[in-house]
Subunit: 101 residues, 2 copies
DNA sequence: TTGATAGGCAAGTAGCCACTTGCCTATGGT
DNA sequence: ACCATAGGCAAGTGGCTACTTGCCTATCAA
């Protein structure tokens, strides 16, 4: 658990490219930056620069939706769906438990 | 069910003021524009113009998170948490069911 | 050591979005 | 009829952000 701020979480989810990245990580966990670039380009026709994807990953990571592990010159990215629970518990429940942002 | 587009849904949730509005509607359903304005100002110190809140409500409504009913010169706003299910089912499930945006 | 691969840092730009302001419409009370 | 209340429309503005570009660091293989 990494102390997820609601603001970061929702802003991270606001971008369609970042949601695509999460889709990719659901399908296969532990991908590198270059792998994600390639798959977004091939499967979705997104011709984004490597740097763009890298920045997206940083946003997702600071939102707690992605965790990364370095291994040699590779950096693997894993999905973490835990923060998503916040969304559910915030409005689906009839008793409001004090808002966070 | 109103055909919710993922893009609209996530963009609607991206703004902190809109999330506050949802919080207010959880607490009390069927508020008017002016009521929401007053409560945001009093409880959260948000000094936003009526028009700002009106635009936020429009965004929430086009995202399917709020439904409104006209009654005389009043327009009441109700919360609809149904679209939130989309968020849960998209990434919490290990089997990807074809993405939507 | 050299070169290739994987990734990071920083500045610049263009488009979007939240918010304001001014004016207009509609309903209800007196 | 009048006025106040509840809300809508449209244009303008400032700030944020997604993306690019150029250059730099680090790891591994030959």
């Amino acid at each position: 658990m990494v102390l997820v701020v609601a603001e970061d979480l929702f802003k991270a989810l606001a971008d369609p490219t970042r949601r695509r990245i999460l889709d990719e990580l659901v399908e296969r966990d532990g991908q590198t930056l270059f792998e994600i670039c390639a798959r977004l380009a091939n499967k979705h026709g997104l011709g984004l620069s490597r740097q763009a994807i890298s920045q997206h990953l940083a946003v997702l990571e600071s939102a707690g939706l992605v965790v990364s592990r370095r291994q040699g010159r590779y950096k693997f990215h894993d999905l973490n769906t835990e923060p998503l629970e916040l969304i559910v518990t915030r409005w689906l429940r009839p008793d409001t438990p004090e808002s966070t942002s």
